[in-house]
């Protein structure tokens, strides 16, 4: 049971990061129906900027928490700038173009950002300075670290903050209005361009924080780290119902847990030696080696995409999405 609990804790930590990144996808999609494939790269740039800042400050004798906070404080504006210019330069000119054009542009932007990062930070795997002392706490037989607790707490706070922003402020109202019908919102006096830019900026800021968290949690950053993370977060957004903000949160957490449990238990469930009686060959094989595992833990990354396919086949609108069907 403690192993199961441990896997759930692992999954929730990972899932909360997915959720934060998924919000970036879902907010942009909700407003302009664009799948911003470059969002994963924004997360990567957040991690890279934080890496540079933390490395520079690490030896300075400042408290670790302050160093990480400064790192985040530098990563957020850089990502916000990237997010804003991305929208201004690459997507706004194409807003009236056929749907496919901005999608391909998004892939292009993603490649450009990745390679820019490669030029700036090299191809090497960068090691985040290990400045935060990891404290381990016991929780009903499972271990949870202070970093995990911090990640969970920060993610929950950010989600709460975003929910407040969207449902309780004027900007949030304008965003929801634009999402429902941009033309009408424009006629009602909403500055659509500003609202869309604001959406990109908020998504990028969340992405920056996610990048810093991923970097400090795993201790590594590389210019390619954004692609897989981005794709998984995108799957999480689809799982929750793309365009739906609470959906992205639920989808992210769920996907993290599915992945952790999947990777943890798939080997046990696909161990053919459990059904060794079925054929003589299998019995023989299992006598020599008590395990014959069909799918091992290396299929961890596959779960996100199996989930993505299942959702698209069985419930294209996602868990919480409603009106996506006709707009996607």
């Amino acid at each position: 049971m403690d192993i199961f609990l441990q896997q759930v804790i692992n999954g929730l930590t990972l899932g909360s990061v997915y959720a934060i990144v998924a919000l970036g996808y879902t907010m942009v999609y909700g407003i302009i129906q664009l799948i911003n494939f470059a969002h994963g790269e924004v997360v990567m740039i957040g991690a890279m900027v934080a890496f540079t800042v933390i490395t520079v400050l690490a030896g300075g004798g400042m408290p670790p928490l302050v160093v990480v906070l400064i790192g985040t404080a530098c990563a957020v504006p850089v990502c916000v700038l990237v997010g804003y210019s991305m929208e201004r330069l690459a997507y706004r000119p194409l807003r009236r173009a056929p749907r496919l054009a901005p999608l391909i542009t998004a892939i292009g932007v993603s490649i450009i950002l990745q390679h820019l990062a490669m030029l700036v930070w090299s191809r090497n795997v960068l090691a985040f300075p290990q400045i935060i002392r990891t404290e381990i706490y016991e929780l009903a037989g499972a271990a949870i670290t202070n970093v995990q607790i911090a990640i969970l707490a920060i993610c929950m706070l950010m989600m709460l903050g975003l929910a407040l922003l969207v449902y309780r402020t004027r900007l949030g109202t304008a965003m929801r209005a634009t999402a429902q019908n941009p033309q009408v919102a424009g006629l009602m006096g909403v500055d659509i361009n500003r609202v869309i830019a604001a959406t990109f900026v908020i998504g990028a800021a969340l992405g920056a924080v996610a990048g810093v968290m991923v970097g400090t949690y795993y201790g590594v950053a590389q210019y390619t780290m954004g692609s897989l993370l981005g794709l998984k977060a995108f799957s999480a957004a689809v799982l929750g119902g793309i365009g739906n903000i609470p959906g992205a949160m639920v989808g992210g957490l769920l996907l993290g847990v599915v992945e952790a449990l999947g990777a943890g238990y798939i080997g046990d469930f696909t161990d053919l030696c459990k059904v060794a009686g079925v054929s003589d060959w299998l019995t023989e094989r299992c006598a020599a080696d008590p395990h014959f595992i069909l799918f091992g833990s290396n299929y961890q990354d596959v779960f996100a995409f199996v989930v993505l396919i299942l959702v698209l086949v069985l419930r294209p609108s996602g868990l919480l999405g409603e009106r996506v069907g006709e707009r996607a």
Binding site: I3, P129, H291, G296
Partner: protein, 432 residues
């Protein structure tokens, strides 16, 4: 540290190769220039290489002298240029000593000349300089440094019948091609798995071991060897767990392993993924001994995993340069004013092997001295050297390291299945 070179064919080299691709235009220009130069050289029927320089060095000797050209190839530019220079120094030292000794070959005083080439750790450049050396009519080659350049260059030397001894290319494939004139004096990657596994089995007495790999040819290969050796020693091994060469989240796998409570964990993969692995393992409260192959046998493990990396075990092909014979270390230091960094003792031995074989065969003709080289038994700076049928060194050494105070520290040497502590090994080298 050794890993930079010995990983040769694996990830880092590919990265550099790709970088070269982005500089395609530049490379093409360089290529064209080199080709043009080579063309000129042929027309003049004179090797362009570094022959003019070599001629200046040759003084008019009273006894007839015989100029013997040897080649040395290593990256002299780029990220591991310092290792290339180190290798080159090792070979140069052997050549200078041989010239000082006035060796007589075929009745003439031998005058050895080392043609030093730069392959930029790039596969394409490796074949280009190999052809250049063949055209310059060298009779033996020490190099290349990387497996990734040695392997593509080897058919070129093979066709020309020129013996090649690498002091640092550890990829098994190099000597698996059936080339009779291809040798290496350093251990092969696939000798590492058995070495670290037998060290684990002998020193740590684990009852249950978990083996993880990163699903690459290198990681899976070394993990298989480890598993085989452990099973042969009657130690239980858990079903293989796998990640990828980009996996940074190992928590799911490690949590599963924690439930089985293994005494030791072996990971076949690189430091970039191994660092997070050991870090997360300790975070989950796993007390097992973590062990790795040379891909994760670097000081970078501490950068990546911090305190969690302390006490881990790992292996590297060959021996640390400090363990080479004192005579070599002293003369290297005297000549170059620095200490050898990595593989210099091996390239020193490689060059000496060629010279010794020529001496014994009394000829600098590859066809004549190659049979001698195949059967040679030579006391080098890295111990006794003999070759097997493939051209690999018999009983090559693998060094076991542990992480101590943020640096990898040699603790034992495994040679021919026997483990001796590093101190004992040093003593035996000093005595021999």
């Amino acid at each position: 540290m050794i890993a930079a070179g010995s990983r040769g064919i694996i990830a880092p080299r590919f990265r550099e190769t790709r970088m070269k691709n982005t500089n395609l235009a530049l490379t093409l220009i360089a290529f064209a220039t080199a080709a043009a130069l080579a063309g000129c050289g042929k027309e003049e029927a004179k090797p362009v290489a570094k022959a003019p320089e070599a001629k200046k060095e040759a003084p008019p000797a009273p006894t007839p002298s015989l100029e013997i050209k040897l080649g040395h190839v290593a990256p002299l530019t780029g990220q591991i240029a310092h290792l290339g220079k180190d290798n080159e120094n090792g070979a140069q030292l052997a050549i200078d000593e041989a010239n000082g000794a006035q060796i007589k070959i075929g009745g003439k005083t031998a005058k050895f000349v080392l043609l030093k080439e730069d392959d930029q750790a790039d596969a394409k450049q490796g074949t280009t300089v190999a052809q250049k050396l063949v055209d310059a009519k060298v009779v033996g080659v020490v190099g290349h440094l990387n497996s990734g350049t040695s392997i593509p260059a080897s058919p070129i030397y093979n066709q020309a019948g020129i013996p090649v001894i690498s002091g640092s290319a550890t990829n098994p494939k190099l000597t698996e091609q059936g080339f009779k004139q291809q040798f290496r004096v350093v251990a092969r990657d696939d000798q590492q798995g058995p070495a670290i596994a037998s060290y684990l089995a002998g020193e740590k007495n684990p009852k249950l071991v978990a083996v993880i790999d990163d699903a690459t040819a290198y990681g899976e290969g070394i993990a298989n060897e480890v598993e085989k050796t452990l099973k042969a020693a009657k130690i239980k091994v858990l079903p293989r767990e796998k990640g990828t060469d980009k996996t940074t989240d190992w928590k799911a796998v490690l949590t599963k392993l924690k439930g089985r409570n293994p005494d030791a964990i072996f990971y076949g993969g690189m430091d970039a993924t191994g660092g997070p692995l050991v870090k997360q393992g300790r975070e989950l409260g796993i007390k097992a001994v973590f062990s790795f192959g040379d891909g994760a046998c670097t000081d970078k493990m501490t950068e990546l995993a911090g305190q969690a990396a302390e006490g881990m075990l790992c292996s590297q092909a060959g021996i640390p340069p400090q363990a080479a014979s004192k005579r070599f270390l002293d003369s290297y230091k005297k000549k170059f004013n620095v200490d050898p960094i990595l593989y210099a003792p091996f390239t020193y031995d490689a060059a000496n092997l060629i010279i010794e074989a020529m001496k014994q065969a009394n000829s600098a003709d590859p066809a004549k001295y190659l049979p001698v080289l195949q059967k040679i038994s030579f006391a080098g700076s890295t111990g006794k050297i003999e070759f097997d049928d493939k051209g690999d060194r018999k009983n090559a050494e693998i060094t076991i390291f542990t992480m101590k105070g943020g640096k990898i520290d040699p603790i034992a040497v495994v040679k021919g299945g026997k483990t001796s502590s590093y101190a004992e090994f040093l003593k035996s080298m000093g005595g021999g």
